[in-house]
Assembly symmetry: C2
Homo-oligomer: 227 residues x 2
């Protein structure tokens, strides 16, 4: 009697899908406009997604410090509340726009459009978007980015790509973060690699620690592209 | 020009709120029915929420092992995909119903209603609901639970309660998990406590490690209540 698998109620799912379809269509239009605008400025835009605490801000701070003096980078950072992340990022000297979403669980293209108005895009080479910490909802919202990057921290466990496939499936790169903690948390790197590959065979894979600098060289090269 | 704070576009927010209001109203009705049904069976129901990888399944496995032979507990576990968590939980001998949500980022009361049909509620003392790993969306969906429990792992950082206030605000208990890793990740326990208290002064606070057993005695007593 127990031990059964259940799918969500079809009526509920249908209502949600109808609503989502129209919201997503509006988002897609705006994302296309963002993409054209970014291309016009020769800007490479990264959309960083992960669960809360996977280390997006730490990675960005380390990346901005590494790029300083060589490339001009800006940041748009989304959070439900607080400006803690923005404050940390501003210590690098990069221009930072904070989006406070209230209860919305992801950034959308319209928010990025308006945040981009507050940056001098012509002066930038790279733009990093730090999405709201959430491994589910940002998957469906194209922001007009050039590359989508998913972070998976060693402290979250190796099975996350199988449990949250949508967000991993559409990633251009997967970053395994907090490699310095891999041993302490008994992280199984081989199993994590296999699980990522099962969901997304094409993604570029990075294994790094923003704290120790391990893997940051390779990541920095990928971010800078052929500039 | 940069360094500005932005709020979401009002039109977008309004449309989302209209949709959410009707969905939430239906959810509230169903949650009230679930609650009455659970009370009728003298069942205490826990809704466990956290970001992915905070250790909900590990805590539940350790809790079920601790209660075995004394209290009868069942589990409803939600995931986007895979039955990995259900398989781990079934090793304890407890009846487990898996809900696979597809792309939905939270459980709702209707899913719990149907999952509960698959359990022999009269035979149970406790029911644990392991929500989809997400620190944002489950906040607004009452499932009819007796107690809502939010897990915050030491590896996520101390500022999460301030960054994700809705989910912490409505918690009956906050569990700081993975205390065995606190030192390795330089977790600031005093700061975490302060941040939790700022958002939710009433919540019962637990600091534990399912791996070492630290703090599990106190947690087990709270879960068992006066049974």
């Amino acid at each position: 009697m127990a031990d059964r698998t259940l799918l969500p109620d079809e009526t509920t799912t249908r209502r949600l899908l109808d609503v989502q379809t129209s919201l997503l269509a509006a988002n897609e239009d705006c994302a296309a406009k963002n993409r054209a605008r970014f291309q016009q400025h020769g800007l490479t835009v990264f959309n960083l997604v992960s669960s809360p605490g996977a280390g997006k801000t730490a990675l960005l701070v380390a990346t901005l410090e590494r790029l300083a003096g060589r490339l001009h980078a800006g940041v748009i950072v989304g959070d439900l509340a607080t400006e803690n992340d923005a404050a940390r990022l501003r210590t690098t000297g990069a221009p930072v726009v904070q989006i406070t979403t209230g209860t919305l669980c992801h950034l959308d293209a319209q928010m990025i459009d308006r945040a981009a108005d507050m940056l001098d895009l012509a002066a930038l080479d790279l733009l990093f978007i730090e999405n709201v910490g959430n491994l589910v909802c940002p998957a469906e919202f194209d922001l007009g980015e050039t590359r989508r990057v998913v972070l998976l921290s060693t402290t979250e466990g190796e099975d996350k790509p199988l449990k949250y496939p949508p967000i991993f499936r559409f990633a251009d790169a997967v970053v395994i973060s907090k490699m310095d903690l891999a041993h302490a948390v008994e992280f199984d790197l081989a199993s994590a690699r296999t699980n990522i590959r099962r969901v997304n065979p094409q993604a570029t894979l990075f294994e790094l620690s923003a704290r120790t600098g391990e893997g940051m060289e390779e990541w920095g090269r990928w971010v800078a592209g052929d500039r």
